[in-house]
């Protein structure tokens, strides 16, 4: 993967130098280990900041919304699918983009690593599947594959969907993965158990909206949670309002969510918010055979009305 990093720098430098883009959106080292942060490079000399490793989980498509200048963006599979969605939804124009595609092998879940090491992480290096983690002064080695974010472990679209150039060979897509086992488990619960489950799931929420802000799909000028007339959702910590927020947010992502995991990664309380979007992803796949962000030619199924839309759920 270190090859990727050099290729990214090289490409970014070339693009900026030849002036074909005004800005390159990529990752640079963050202030904390395992916390790479988005960066916006406008000068060729700054490309050395760019990095690529297993800590680039943030969805960079989020930074493209309504940009007018010509931008190059480093995009792994899920970012590229959100770029597609962005183009379809008029958030950015294809011709204003230069997509530097990154065939992805999954991002590492910092919480999993922390739990495995049992202490504050001081440094991490990776080599193939081996993660060397320094925590509490001691170095431990972990399997990268075992530390993947859940959405990455279940990812079926690691390769970018659209790109202008690639930084490496396309990777083999994962096969034989059961993406919706967890959804089915919840679906099978009795109504009472389900109620308990969602009550517990959302109980820790502090309404910080980090999940929303990390999500490239959430770009409305005024989010429904902030509207006051009508006030769709109460502002406080009332559990009903919390649930309303999460349910409605999930519905707004139906047919558009790429399961990039940005929401879950951003949640300071560790809430598995993907549980809600995954359910809708499953339904949309079952009913419409649709996965978000794979084509520029079609709007998501919930954006269209067809008389023969599936309606077996109405009895």
């Amino acid at each position: 993967m270190s090859g990727y990093q050099d290729k990214i720098k090289e490409t970014a430098e070339r693009l900026l130098k030849e002036g074909s883009v005004e800005m390159v959106v990529g990752f640079r080292k963050g202030t904390l280990p395992m916390m790479n942060e988005p960066c916006f490079i406008r000068r060729p000399e700054d490309v050395r900041q760019l990095v690529w490793d297993s800590n680039c989980g943030i969805n960079l498509a989020n930074y493209l919304t309504d940009r007018k200048e010509k931008i190059a963006i480093v995009a792994k599979g899920c970012d590229s699918r959100n770029i597609v969605t962005h183009i379809v939804e008029n958030k950015i124009k294809r011709e204003k983009l230069h997509v530097i595609g990154v065939p992805c092998q999954g991002m590492v879940d910092k919480r999993k690593v922390a739990a495995a090491c049992g202490g504050d992480i001081e440094a991490v290096t990776e080599d193939g599947d081996v993660l060397s983690v320094t925590a509490g002064g001691a170095v431990q080695t972990l399997s990268r594959m075992e530390m993947l974010q859940e959405n990455c472990a279940l990812c079926a679209h690691r390769n970018p969907v659209i790109y202008d150039e690639l930084v490496g060979e396309l990777v083999a897509e994962q096969t034989g993965i059961d993406r919706f086992a967890e959804v089915r488990r919840v679906e099978a619960l009795s109504p009472q158990e389900k109620w308990r489950y969602f009550e517990d799931l959302l109980a820790p929420c502090v309404r910080c909206y980090a999940c929303r802000n990390a999500c490239p799909l959430c770009y409305c000028p005024t989010c429904f949670v902030e509207e006051s007339r009508p006030q769709w959702v109460g502002k406080g910590q009332n559990p009903i309002d919390i649930r309303t927020f999460h349910f409605l947010r999930a519905y707004h992502c139906a047919g558009r969510c790429t399961d990039c995991g940005a929401c879950e990664r951003a949640c300071p309380m560790g809430i598995k918010v993907r549980q809600l979007t995954s359910k809708l992803n499953k339904d949309v796949l079952d009913m419409f055979g649709w996965e978000a962000g794979l084509t520029l030619d079609q709007r998501p199924p919930l954006d269209t009305y067809k008389p023969n839309d599936p309606n077996d759920f109405i009895k």
């Binding site: 939804e89 770009y219 409305c220 000028p221 007339r229 954006d303």
Partner: protein, 1085 residues
């Protein structure tokens, strides 16, 4: 007016009224058993006893026949009244201990038993029966004897000849002492039956005063003179006592009205065939043999069994049902109907599927048929789904006899399977799929009008003037023109209207009057001042809901300035009153709590407009259809519900804003895309009715596919007629031809389209108000049956060409084979091409005409010669054309071996392969839609999975699109023969003219609007709107570039975009978020 006190409350009544009447008016309940509104009170039951205080002393009187007087004080609820009534009830309990109504009263007065000696009577001698009998004008019974010997009796205790068994006595008897059964068995010799409801096929009864069915237009009751007692005896007229607006006039006479008209349209329809004469089916004898029309009622939620599927003999749920097709169709032996009724295959499949939906998939449904004729749009798909998904059994067999199973209500039949095996099967119920026939009265009418009929007694028409009768100025539509289903009838109807309009276009708008417009008061910024009008609707609402209390409650709601109740809110005097109250009280929002807005909102909105209020400042609370009519046994809850609904309406109306309707000019011109036969028919009609019409055709000639056809099924020469039609189109000054032209761009919308045509590199922009899509379809080039490998293998159209060229070689042929369904009814084109069966038979007959000795074989899957096309099929068989059926899994094989051309096919009767050596093979190729996505995109109209255009409504809107101002005809809609193409061409013109003739249309004010500040430009609204109302503001615009906007002309106000907008940027005027929230909050308050 007499004023007195009722339970300490001051009330008023008319001179001559009785206490009970006034009490009822004020909603004070007084129990009674012998009172009837239409009869003189008799004070027989004594239950209505009340206490009257005259200033000095009080007395007990029967309120039903005690007249009111000034200053009296009446108590209906005092302890002594209560005790008195209790004693009366106890005495009644002794006389009639088992009468349910007395038991009920006992319970109400806290009596579990009576202290008096019980008699086993059921008559309380209230005398209602004798009084009503007198009222009926009969006096067949009276009260005889005195004191304890008194009873209800006939004169001299003998059976009465006077009794007409009207049942009035039974209907008023409070205790159930008199029943219809008793009258039948002991009192009268008259044999009487309930009046059968025509609508429910006699499976239900109706009253002499009745509304034929719930959706009847006009939805007012009629009196059936043939059964009404008044018209027999001169008595009764009880109904007049109950009609609150004195609308009943028994003296009305039939009137002969003479109308001067320029055109006449005949649409007398058909009657279902009466299968009584099929004695082997036992329809008359066996209740479980029913007609499909009866089955329709049984499956209907409003039918005699409320949609519960039961058989009639024992109300058992059937487990097995069979449908017999072609009962009264395709049958010369028993009913003289040689034609196919066209609709029965499809309705039988529909009934089978619905029956399975109602009764569960375990229900066994079997359809016995000769040919399965699902030739309509999407019908073949429905047939396949019925077979494959619902498991309906389809058995190709005509059953001769239905045998009742002895000792059971079941029915046994014997039939031959396709393999020739004899099978006996027992069914619980058998449905006869009866055909359509013309009523003898209609045949008489036709004679009177001097118009020609076909052998089947349908109206005779020609293929090129399919809605014109043989007499000029008289037009026809619907099943009288030939057996047909709903879409085809609707197309006919529009076409007949167009034909009549072509005659009358000079007179258009000569009999119209302009409406006076009252200036609108500006209520912007005013605090809501709401008026609430609660309707009694006679007793329709007030009989259940406590209307005064609802009005009183309404007055307490926020912003309500005025609340009252009235007898009929919709009556003219109330409307006038409403206008004056609005003005007087300066009201700016109105709520009417009455019936349903679906019927009455426009009326009240007009009243608002007459009072100078914007008509959208209005809301209805539906306290009749959704309340009093459906909750009559729980009046208290119904009253509470009425209050809730009024509260919700008030909450909503307070937030309502005046809405603006805008005028839309309709350019008086049309664009017809496609110069085939239906396009030309549309253009002709439009031009004849005065509208400039452009035909754009991509080829260099008019005529389309019709240029390839030889004869119609009626034998008309297509080329001759087509040439006349083309000449007529070319010579018409109002029709502008654009040949070899292509549509390259369409802008605008209903009323003002701008279309860009490109011809020979030059572009031209046409402005037009409406567009008709008539782009037709094309024949499939077959990839099977060795087509193209031998000159003797032709398509149907190639054979037509040879007929047209009068190819002498055709006479010399020894043998010809026709192969049907080439490409149709197969996975790639899973629909029936509709015309090919008739076409091949017609061509086979043409070959026979040229060489009667020719051996002709038609290899088919189902012969679909619908309607009177069936005669051709019959004729072909008579002339020796051999029909061999094949299955889609075992299609005919063709071999070209040197000079020998042979077809191998498995004979359906012998089950053996046959080898036919032939000189000619004609392939009935499928009709393939153009799947014109570009055009679909231009006009924002949809295509279906097959590639045909999708009409607004499969049944009711077949010649128009959901997109306003765009119409559809011809094979772009679905494969169809010439007559049907012309009909639909005219129909599309007819529908277009409903718009064009209005010149200006008002758009609704209740539409969606974008709040651009909140818009995220995501485009959901643009994508999701079925009417293409939202669009993006141009990127170069000064304000809000790239944001969404909604064209008020195209918006139908459905709110799909509003609900889909994640950004909350769209509001729906009239159903705004805050209004719906206000309703939610009000209902849960």
């Amino acid at each position: 007016m007499i004023t007195f006190k009722l339970n300490d409350k001051t009330v008023q009544g008319e001179e001559g009224q009785y206490i009970l009447q006034v009490a009822q008016k004020y909603g004070v309940e007084i129990p009674t058993l012998c009172h009837h509104k239409a009869l003189e009170p008799a004070g027989m039951c004594r239950l209505c006893t009340v206490e009257v205080f005259d200033g000095r002393r009080s007395r007990f009187v029967t309120s039903c026949n005690y007249p009111i007087w000034e200053g009296m004080e009446v108590r209906t609820d005092s302890e002594s009244v209560h005790q008195g009534r209790k004693l009366i009830v106890e005495l009644l309990m002794a006389r009639c201990p088992d009468a349910p109504i007395i038991k009920e009263l006992g319970k109400k007065y806290g009596l579990s038993d009576t202290r008096f000696r019980k008699e086993e009577d059921t008559c309380i001698l209230c005398g209602l029966c004798t009084r009503i009998c007198t009222k009926m004008g009969n006096s067949a019974i009276s009260l005889t004897g005195r004191g304890v010997d008194m009873k209800v009796d006939t004169p001299f205790h003998i059976q009465s000849d006077v009794c007409m068994a009207c049942g009035a006595c039974a209907s008023v008897c409070p205790t159930g002492h008199i029943t219809l059964e008793k009258i039948r068995s002991s009192v009268t010799a008259v044999d009487f039956k309930p009046i059968p409801s025509e609508y429910d096929m006699g499976l239900k009864s109706r009253k002499p005063v009745y509304v034929p069915y719930a959706q009847a237009v006009p939805n007012t009751p009629a009196i059936d003179r043939s059964v009404c007692m008044h018209f027999k005896t001169g008595g009764c007229q009880v109904c007049t006592e109950f009609c609150g607006v004195n609308a009943i006039d028994h003296t009305m006479q039939d009137e002969v009205v003479e109308l001067e008209v320029g055109s006449i349209i005949l649409s007398p329809g058909f009657q279902p065939f009466d299968p009584s004469k099929f004695d082997t089916y036992g329809y008359v004898k066996h209740p479980n043999v029913i007609t499909a029309m009866e089955m329709e009622r049984i499956l209907s939620a409003s039918g005699p069994t409320s949609g519960h599927l039961v058989r009639l003999s024992d109300h058992k749920e059937p487990k097995k049902i069979a449908w017999f097709q072609c009962v009264g169709s395709r049958d010369m032996n028993k009913c003289d109907h040689a034609y196919c009724s066209s609709v029965c295959c499809m309705y039988a499949i529909k009934e089978a599927v619905i029956a399975k939906e109602h009764a569960g998939s375990d229900l066994d449904c079997a359809v016995f048929y000769m040919d399965m004729r699902t030739h309509g749009k999407d019908f073949e798909r429905f047939y396949n789904t019925a077979k494959d998904k619902h498991g309906v059994r389809f058995i190709r067999s005509r059953v001769h006899t239905i045998e009742p199973v002895p000792g059971a209500d079941d029915l046994s039949i014997r039939y031959l399977t396709e393999s020739g095996e004899s099978v006996t099967e027992v069914f619980d119920q058998i449905v006869l799929s009866v055909g359509l026939e013309i009523n003898p009265d209609v045949v008489r009418l036709a004679k009177q009008l001097d118009i020609d009929l076909t052998p089947g007694n349908f109206c005779d028409t020609t293929s090129f003037a399919p809605v014109s009768t043989s007499r000029e100025g008289i037009y026809v539509c619907g099943a009288f023109q030939g057996p047909k289903d709903i879409p085809q009838s609707v197309i006919d109807a529009s076409a007949a209207a167009a034909a009549a309009g072509e005659n009358l276009s000079a007179a258009r708008n000569t009999l119209t009057k302009a409406k006076e417009v009252i200036p609108e008061i500006n209520v912007n910024g005013e605090r809501p001042r709401i008026g609430v009008f609660v309707c009694r609707c006679g007793i329709n609402i007030a009989g259940v809901v406590n209307v005064p209390s609802v009005a009183e409650y309404a007055a307490t709601l926020p912003f309500v300035e005025f609340a009252s109740d009235n007898l009929y809110s919709c009556s003219q005097d109330t409307q006038d009153n409403l206008v004056s109250i609005i003005k007087q009280k300066n009201l700016n929002r109105i709520v009417v709590a009455a019936c349903t807005p679906k019927t009455h909102e426009p009326l009240f909105q007009e009243t608002l407009a007459n009072a100078g209020l914007n008509k959208y400042l209005f809301e209805m609370a539906n306290i009749r259809n959704h309340d009093s009519w459906v909750h009559k046994s729980s009046p208290e809850q119904a009253t509470q519900k009425a209050k809730d609904l009024v509260r919700s309406a008030v909450a909503k109306v307070a937030l309502t804003q005046p809405l603006k309707e805008s005028d839309l000019q309709i350019k008086p011109s049309a664009l017809v895309v496609g110069g085939g036969i239906s396009g030309m028919a549309a253009a002709q009609s439009l031009a004849m009715q005065g509208y400039e019409t452009h035909i754009v055709e991509h080829s260099s000639r008019l005529g389309g596919q019709a240029r390839n056809l030889y004869h119609t099924f009626k034998g008309e020469d297509v080329q001759k007629k087509l040439a006349e039609m083309i000449r007529d189109v070319q010579n018409n000054d109002r029709i502008h031809l654009h040949l070899e032209s292509e549509l390259v761009q369409v802008d605008g919308f209903v009323g003002s389209f701008k279309s860009t045509l490109k011809a020979g590199g030059k572009e031209e922009v046409l402005e037009h108000g409406v567009a008709v899509i008539a782009t037709g379809a094309t024949p499939l080039t077959p990839a099977e049956y060795a087509y193209g490998k031998d000159a003797r293998i032709l398509t149907s159209l190639e054979l037509d060409r040879r007929f047209m060229n009068d190819d002498p070689a055709l006479k010399t042929l020894q043998s010809a084979v026709f192969i049907q369904c080439v490409g149709s009814r197969e996975p790639e084109h899973p629909y029936c091409s509709r015309v090919c069966c008739t076409h091949s038979i017609e061509n086979a007959l043409e070959l026979k005409r040229r060489n009667p000795d020719m051996n002709i074989y038609i290899l088919y899957r189902d012969i679909r010669s619908y309607g009177e096309r069936e005669y051709l099929y019959k004729e072909a068989r008579e002339k020796g054309v051999i029909f061999i059926r094949f299955s889609v899994d075992d299609k005919p094989q063709i071999s070209v071996d040197g000079g020998r051309l042979t077809v191998r096919v498995t004979d359906h009767i012998l089950g053996r392969p046959l080898e036919l050596e032939t000189d000619l093979i004609s392939l009935a190729t499928a009709i393939i839609p153009n799947r014109d996505e570009k055009l679909a995109n231009f006009f924002k109209v949809p295509l279906n999975a097959d590639g045909f255009f999708v009409e607004r409504h499969a049944k009711l809107g077949p010649s128009e699109f959901a997109t306003d101002g765009v119409f559809l005809c011809g094979m772009a809609h679905y494969p169809k023969p010439i007559d049907e193409s012309i009909v639909q061409g005219k129909a599309a013109a007819s529908r277009a003219i409903t718009l064009l003739a209005r010149e200006i249309i008002q758009t609704s004010g209740a539409i969606a609007e974008v709040v651009q500040a909140n818009c995220s430009s995501c485009g959901v609204c643009v994508s999701i709107c079925p009417y293409s109302a939202p669009s993006f503001i141009e990127e170069t615009a000064r304000f809000n570039p790239g944001k969404a906007q909604i064209n008020p002309v195209l918006c139908k106000g459905c709110g799909l975009c509003v609900a889909s907008c994640r950004s909350g940027a769209i509001r729906l005027k009239g159903f705004d978020n805050d209004q719906i929230f206000a309703q939610i909050f009000a209902l849960n308050a």
